[in-house]
């Protein structure tokens, strides 16, 4: 029942609101109110008696007291100070001092989507939620995949996290142990693919050894060489899905593809602060023992990344932004920035650098 309160000053940044963001894991949401912040908005999450997740603004309409500090009664939530009672749609249904409900007494209710792993909420224009299907991450609950992960807050703006996931070159620098050895060699061409709303990048590496820890898990000789393929996808401003494939010639004319899938659900809590849920799924070595071996390896890696991003945020906070030098490999990150910038501009009523008076042509 903790409240996230930003304590650090940061450069003002705006994040797209018309997007599904992960507010909590499914286990975190239950019959006790859970207070969360996302997009500078307090949200209280709980489940009704039939298990349906509810997301309301975390502030009683009568006095500025968080509903998450109250309690649940049936399908309703009761303010821990005013005693006002709200139903799952946010309508006030009872006040202690009178039988009439004050006109307009309600708190905003946010559209919610639960996929069995995460609880996603839509904090933008409520009516648009139905017109934007939430992203699907079925592998997270598929028995053909074994998944591990964690969730924490990173004291860095979500844009720094996006830029981190848009290029994996730094992995070899940050953590030589976890990094596939091919990342230290001259990389093959990077292919970046864009649509209106998504960016992905991929490249295929010539046969090379895989990290020792992975060879051990796959029971392969440490020096055996395999074709490897990386793929990263910015699915929405709240989700990255990445993949690392190792092709193994398991028998003559038979290739097995051993895949790690990396799922990163990113939620801007406020400017300069981000909730980061990460999941590493694998379609090989599905046993618990492998999971126990892998969890510390990936936790250590993502903690390193977290510290680096927080340090960058500190530099930005202390010295302000500067024009940064970009290189050819930054193409994906620049496309991600462009999509986010355009989303924010469309939502705030000012398409980037002023509304356009002309647009694309079609050849009807």
């Amino acid at each position: 029942m903790s409240l996230d309160v930003s304590t650090r000053s940061r450069l003002p940044r705006v994040h797209p609101r018309n997007c599904w963001y992960m507010l909590a894991t499914s286990e975190e949401v239950g019959r006790e109110p859970l207070g969360r912040r996302a997009l500078d908005t307090g949200v209280v999450l709980y489940r009704t008696t039939d298990g349906t997740p509810v997301a309301l603004e975390d502030r009683c309409a009568h006095r500025p007291y968080p509903l998450s500090l109250g309690h649940i009664e049936g399908d309703n939530i009761v303010s821990g100070y005013t005693g006002f009672v709200y139903d799952a749609q946010g309508f006030c249904v009872h006040v202690p001092t009178q039988s009439e409900i004050p006109v307009g007494a309600r708190v905003p209710a946010f559209p919610v989507h639960e996929d069995g792993v995460f609880v996603w909420a839509w904090l933008g224009e409520p009516a648009l939620a139905a017109l934007r299907p939430p992203p699907a991450t079925p592998w997270l609950s598929d028995p053909g995949w074994a998944t591990l992960g964690d969730v924490w807050e990173t004291e860095a703006d979500v844009l720094l996290l996006h830029e981190n996931f848009a290029d994996i070159t730094h992995v070899a620098v940050v953590d030589p142990f976890i990094a596939p050895p091919v990342l230290r060699s001259s990389p093959p061409p990077l292919e970046v693919e864009v649509t209106e709303t998504t960016v992905s990048f991929s490249r295929t590496y010539e046969p090379a050894p895989i990290p020792a820890w992975q060879a051990e898990l796959l029971e392969l000789p440490a020096d055996a060489e395999h074709v490897q393929h990386e793929h990263g996808a910015f699915v929405t401003p709240g989700l990255w899905v990445d993949r690392w494939d190792v092709r193994v010639e398991s028998a003559p004319n038979e290739t097995k593809i051993h895949t790690f899938r990396f799922t990163h659900a990113l939620t801007p809590i406020s400017s300069g602060r981000t909730r980061h849920a990460w999941r590493v799924s694998r379609n090989f070595a599905l046993g618990e023992q492998a999971g126990r071996a892998l969890l510390p390896i990936f936790t250590d890696y993502y903690r390193r990344v977290q510290r680096i991003l927080e340090t960058m945020q500190d530099v930005l906070d202390a010295d302000g932004p500067r024009k940064e030098i970009n290189v050819s490999a930054d193409a994906a990150a620049l496309q991600v920035r462009k999509i986010i910038r355009n989303m924010v501009a469309d939502e705030t009523g000012a398409r980037f650098r002023g509304a356009r008076s002309t647009g694309a042509a079609r050849a009807h």
């Binding site: 299907p133 093959p188 990077l190 864009v194 209106e196 355009n342 002309t358 647009g359 694309a360």
Partner: protein, 325 residues
């Protein structure tokens, strides 16, 4: 540790889709319903987005998506057979039938629906297609909106049945019954807090542009069917130096080559599609240089801001142009 430059290839999403249905819904208008062969989800899009249909070598045409972003497994486009066109619509009508496969690129969106409490939509003929998902979204968001939809005659006007649900928010103006659209009555006096979205033939667009000159800047959003008529250039094009900052390259653009051609000849990957300054795909960030804008995408303010250019058609007035590539 050897270091060589990472070669980066940037391209738009491109895939083969199956025509699930090809239905004639008005005179000379066919609506194609497209889906992946395995009915997998297609890339997400927002109202105003369009795709390329790649109909053959050198025959690529853009069509607005007129389905709903809430249906991620199908895309729908409406195509008018235009006898005087360059052959794209003819090919769609003759070659694409239920079950056929078509190569598709995109989606991209240079006609986005910006949030507003009030909208005035103006559609001429097949220009109704991008407007359809826009009004669905405006209606869902409980915005105050109107659509004025003009066409030759009722039988030629697509989607009248789908528009019926919106009642008197929609004004249908068949020319043979009611004459031309009365733009004076809807655009004559500027309305506060209203965005105007217009798509249709060039005559309608230039008329709407003229009426909107008195409206607040940023009011008008429109989409053209083809390149905006350009003022003839008096002098011959000159050559200039081109610096690609991220790539670390300095190149020369001769009078007879476009910026895009020179970039590509140097082996640097850049997005492009229509090659005539209308689709907006090759929009590139300008770091330095006085751009000679010749596109139909950016408005006057945007061109004057000199922050972006369409490298397929626009050039440079100053001796050096520096781009973020």
């Amino acid at each position: 540790m050897t270091v060589t430059t990472t070669k980066t290839i940037i391209r738009e999403h491109e895939t083969d889709l199956v025509v699930r249905e090809a239905q004639t819904i008005a005179d000379d208008v066919v609506v194609l319903t497209l889906a992946a062969p395995d009915d997998a989800e297609l890339p997400a899009w927002t109202p105003g987005a369009h795709i390329d249909l790649i109909l053959g070598d050198d025959l690529t045409r853009q069509y607005s998506l007129c389905s709903s972003p809430s249906k991620p497994n199908v895309w729908r486009v409406g195509v008018l057979r235009a006898p005087d066109s360059r052959g794209g619509s003819e090919r769609v009508h003759s070659a694409l039938t239920s079950g056929s496969t078509v190569r598709v690129r995109g989606p991209r969106n240079h006609f986005p629906l910006v949030t507003s409490s009030r909208y005035l939509f103006i559609a001429g003929g097949i220009g109704i297609t991008p407007i359809l998902p826009m009004i669905a979204e405006a209606e869902a968001a409980a915005a105050d909106w109107r659509l004025i939809y003009g066409g030759r005659e009722r039988a030629s006007m697509a989607f009248l049945d789908e528009l019926a649900q919106y009642g008197d928010r929609v004004t249908v103006v068949p020319q043979n019954e009611m004459g031309m659209l009365d733009l004076e009555s809807v655009l004559g006096s500027p309305q506060p807090d209203t965005l105007v979205y217009c798509c249709g033939p060039e005559g309608l667009l230039s008329a709407v542009e003229k009426f909107c000159e008195n409206w607040p800047p940023g009011t008008l959003h429109l989409e053209r069917f083809s390149a905006k008529p350009q003022e003839p250039v008096a002098e011959a094009d000159s050559s200039f130096e081109l610096v690609l900052e991220r790539s670390g390259l300095t190149l020369q653009v001769p009078p007879d080559k476009s910026v895009l051609e020179v970039i590509r000849a140097a082996g640097v990957s850049v997005l492009a599609s229509c090659l005539e300054g209308v689709c907006g795909t090759c929009e590139t960030e300008v770091i330095d240089g006085d751009v000679d804008h010749r596109d139909s995408v950016l408005n006057e303010e945007e061109q004057a801001a000199n922050e972006y250019m369409m490298v397929c058609v626009s050039r440079c007035n100053s001796p050096r142009l520096t781009l973020d590539l």
